[in-house]
């Protein structure tokens, strides 16, 4: 999934090139990708051919699990429904996010950074919380019903909104929008204005310019965004479990139950493999439908923003309206949840009873929650420290070390990011089980690092690729050795990416349910504790937890943006 439309700076050859050969420094990279990525995935494949006898796995290789799947009409219906939900959700999100990215990327002149941050902030706020918040809107006593009943459209609250397939698609759309927005925004920003003018100059109207120039140059980014959103939603078993009800069950729920209550790992593994194959096929088709061709040379130049014509003004008005509505859509559940955390009544319904801090007071006295929160902090600290140091080192090795098969290593280490959450969860269960890592904090740390480390690594790598290679050469030329060049030149230049990766890793770790649920055992982290609370009855304390978490996430985002702005100021 590498963007083919690289700018020339991206393909610059790294400094310090050396012949490719085996070197000791490359060993950790190979060890990581073997033990954490390849081996667990091979175990998954192997397990799918085993059987369960008397509640234990036995080594009797057979195709029995696949035979059972093949014959099961229920499985095919479930698989089809799962793929349909995710494709619909990602597709609808694309219809919203792609025009919005076009508008923000090319039409907006003022407050652009603010708009982009607004759309991206929800990515940093707990997925669990955002999903849960939708219950406040769609539920029987939720916002939507209250509004419809009080305005006289309905006589009594409807049950039709929550626990349906439509509600799952809605929430998937909600999850997908920021991902598709961010990956297409970049493509629109990179698109040189001179190409659009050249098209117009050649006699093409606005529509034909879009069809023949804009679309071919942005479709690959859209495909990447849609694929990402698809993979994230297809492996999501939290949303269907909380929002979907019976009609909204997906294959993720089925896999997680095979590794949970049903306790049939081989069967679950077989389901996971079929899911992975389907995902691979769908992503392949999406990519094939949106081919990338040619290379932007980066010297096409950026011209003044769009001209003021009456048509453009109307379009801009429509664009602003669309963006406002989308931002409202993204924030409504979050704001609603924050409001309910101050609600005096324990009933989650309108009208609210009055202002109260009782849920926050209850939090302070809740022993289970405090222990879980402490554990979350511990896990997050270990995951972030380890992933940042090792991920940055890996990026440096891959970029400068001339490791044999650098592309392969990068792709393989990054694989967990592209693995549907539920599958990654069971893959890590199998891997850590085999490596004899005890369940609990250590196992959770390893499991979360499997996807936090590649995030840090890729952020740092992309920064390294954009660096002017002659900067490091200049430092060496001016008499600094490699270590001092790193300390005084390289590190200050990549610090922004390292810190950004660490902060993103922090929220990813603090928020994770999909993977952690399988690994934590009795040692629950905060999101797992909350998830269990919600499954076995609900207390409004959860609103208060989430409100606090959201504030913490926002604080991190603000700090990150500050650091980012400083870093940009320093390099500009």
């Amino acid at each position: 999934m590498v963007d083919q439309l690289l700018t020339r700076t991206d393909v610059a050859t790294p400094a310090l090139s050396r012949p490719r050969r085996f070197r000791l420094i490359n060993l950790p990279v190979w060890a990581w990708l073997t033990l954490i990525v390849l081996l667990p995935n091979l175990l998954l494949i192997g397990t799918s051919f085993l059987r369960i006898r008397n509640g234990f796995m036995t080594f009797e290789p057979s195709l029995a699990n696949y035979q059972r799947l093949w014959d099961s009409a229920g499985f095919w219906a479930l698989l089809f429904r799962t793929l349909k939900f995710s494709l619909l959700g990602s597709g609808i999100a694309a219809l919203i996010a792609y025009p919005m990215a076009y508008f923000v990327g090319r039409g907006v002149r003022r407050n652009k950074a603010l708009l982009v941050t607004l759309v991206l902030v929800p990515l940093w706020i707990s997925l669990l919380m955002r999903v849960f918040a939708w219950r406040l809107i769609l539920g029987q006593s939720g916002l939507l019903n209250s509004f419809l009943v009080s305005s006289g459209v309905l006589d009594k609250p409807s049950e039709a909104f929550l626990y349906t397939s439509a509600s799952v698609v809605l929430v998937f759309t909600y999850i997908a929008i920021p991902y598709i927005f961010i990956s297409t925004l970049n493509a629109f920003e990179k698109l040189p204005q001179s190409l659009l003018e050249a098209s117009e100059d050649s006699g093409a109207s606005g529509l034909r310019t879009f069809l023949h120039v804009v679309w071919p140059l942005t479709r690959r980014s859209l495909a990447i965004g849609v694929s990402l959103a698809f993979l994230i939603t297809v492996g999501d078993f939290v949303t269907p479990a909380m929002i979907g009800g019976v009609d909204g069950t997906t294959i993720g729920v089925m896999i997680s139950s095979q590794f949970g209550m049903a306790n049939n790992w081989p069967y679950g593994a077989a389901v996971a493999i079929v899911l992975m194959l389907c995902c691979g096929a769908i992503v392949g088709i999406v990519m094939a439908l949106c081919p990338a061709r040619g290379v932007l040379l980066g010297d096409e130049g950026q011209r003044p923003a769009a001209r003021d014509t009456p048509g453009a003004r109307t379009l801009r008005l429509a664009g602003s309206l669309g963006v406002t509505l989308t931002v409202l859509f993204l924030y409504a559940p979050i704001l609603l949840m924050a409001a309910f955390s101050f609600n005096a009544s324990s009933m989650q319904s309108f009208p609210m009873a009055g202002f109260s801090l009782r849920w926050y007071e209850e939090l302070a006295g809740n022993q289970g929650l405090l222990v879980a929160a402490q554990r979350s902090l511990l896990v997050a600290f270990m995951v972030v420290t380890f992933s940042t140091i090792v991920g940055t080192s890996f990026a440096l090795i891959l970029h400068y070390g001339k490791i044999a098969g650098a592309r392969f290593c990068e792709f393989t280490i990054g694989l967990p990011i592209a693995t549907p959450g539920v599958v990654l969860g069971i893959v890590m269960v199998l891997g850590t089980e085999w490596l004899k890592i005890p369940s609990g904090v250590i196992r959770t740390t390893v499991g979360q690092s499997s996807f936090v480390l590649p995030v840090v690594m890729m952020l740092v790598l992309s920064r390294l690729r954009r660096l002017d290679p002659s900067l490091l050469e200049a430092s060496l030329d001016l008499g600094a050795d490699k270590i001092r060049s790193f300390v005084f030149v390289l590190f200050p230049l990549i610090r922004g990416a390292v810190v950004g990766g660490a902060l993103l890793g922090l929220t990813l770790s603090a928020d994770d349910v999909m993977v952690t649920l399988f690994l934590a055992g009795p040692q629950q982290t905060l999101p797992i504790w909350v998830f269990n609370q919600m499954r076995f009855g609900f207390t409004p304390t959860v609103n208060a937890v989430f409100a606090l978490l959201a504030v913490a996430c926002l604080a991190i985002v603000i700090v990150a943006t500050r650091i980012g702005a400083k870093a940009r100021g320093a390099t500009a």
């Binding site: 190409l195 096409e300 130049g301």
Partner: protein, 356 residues
């Protein structure tokens, strides 16, 4: 007025101030371009020449004034409906289309048939000698080749006017000279009016029928290359076109008018109607240098440095408080060296005096 005499392009009192800008980018600009003319717009960066070009192409609308093409007012016609093509400074080749696809693009937009398109595109590519690269993508071409493709794309539809926005800026010297010849012969062959924007006076003078020199949004002078070169209307033009010394001079009352005084020396050959300080614009090649031992001159000085430019030498001579540069034919054996005392002779027949 017969059709042949009607200008292909008329700009009439065009004003433009950008949003948030304090100074106008274009200030009452008027000119006409004749059919088949090679018209250049010359000026330093920020003088408004690119704005002017974008206005002809339709990417900018004037605040005031009119743009008329072939008798039709087109001030508010969008770019894609104008019979004008642009060769962009950055070439702006579509990265996802082959050379052929790029050249066929305007034909496709004009809804030509497939066979038609292929034939016309090949013809246009043949004109710029790029037929053998038809199936390459832009990033597989060199800068000069991309330039030719951009040119082919712009002329394939035979527009009435071709706009060129510093098209040679990114090329090396040899390619630039080669492309100048290509452009001139192409323009003769096609008979299309070329409007050529550049900051390189050499390009403008060598290729154009007429040149408009721009300064701060206005036309400083409009004329043939010869007029600009030998008869600059202002100090700015004198300095920008060709290479000139600007020598401070004072006119003092003398016999038969006012006589020039340069660096304390009286020049009875140079007279003016007005007394007081002025500046004398003198081309480098109007200055001769002789070694002090070989003869007298108007002024005496010392050689500071000598640049070898192939056919010419540029000699920088220090005369008292002045530095005067002379361009003299290069000799096989250098006769002038740093520190050598010399006398210089000024050929005042083409000199211009600017008061104020």
């Amino acid at each position: 007025m017969s059709l042949a005499e009607q200008p292909i392009l008329v700009l009439d009192g065009v004003d433009k101030t950008y949003e948030g800008g304090t100074k106008p980018a274009l200030d009452r600009v008027s000119f006409q371009v004749a059919r088949g003319e090679f018209f250049s717009i010359l000026g330093p960066s920020g003088s408004g020449k690119t704005t002017l070009l974008r206005m002809i192409a339709g990417f900018e609308t004037p605040d005031r004034g009119r743009v008329v093409m072939d008798g039709e007012p087109i001030t508010h016609v969008p770019p894609f409906k104008r019979d004008v093509r642009t060769v962009f400074q950055s070439y702006a080749l579509f990265p996802h289309l082959t050379v052929r696809g790029n050249v066929e693009y305007p034909l496709r937009m004009a809804r030509h048939g497939r066979a038609d398109r292929a034939r016309m595109a090949l013809e246009a590519l043949a004109l710029v000698d790029m037929t053998s690269y038809a199936d390459r993508l832009p990033h597989q071409l060199s800068g000069g080749q991309r330039q030719r493709v951009a040119l082919a794309r712009a002329i394939v539809c035979r527009p009435k006017i071709l706009l060129l926005d510093e098209p040679l800026g990114a090329l090396d010297l040899r390619l630039r000279q080669q492309m100048q010849h290509t452009l001139v012969s192409l323009q003769k062959e096609l008979g299309i009016a070329f409007v050529y924007v550049t900051h390189d006076q050499g390009e403008a003078l060598s290729m154009s029928n007429r040149v408009a020199v721009m300064r701060e949004g206005r036309i400083a002078q409009l004329g043939t290359p010869e007029e600009l070169y030998f008869d600059p209307a202002s100090e700015f033009v004198a300095q920008f076109v060709g290479r000139s010394n600007l020598i401070p001079v004072t006119f003092q009352p003398g016999d038969g008018g006012h006589v020039a005084v340069i660096d304390g020396e009286r020049f009875p050959r140079l007279n003016a109607a007005k007394a007081g300080p002025a500046r004398l614009a003198l081309r480098f090649e109007a200055v001769r240098v002789v070694p002090a031992s070989e003869g007298a001159g108007d002024l005496s000085g010392v050689v500071e440095d000598v640049l070898f430019l192939g056919t010419n030498l540029e000699v920088n001579v220090r005369c008292g408080s002045l530095n005067i540069i002379a361009s003299i034919p290069a000799a096989r054996t250098p006769t002038l060296a740093h520190g050598q005392p010399v006398n210089i002779l000024l050929d005042l027949s083409n000199a211009r005096v600017f008061h104020g």
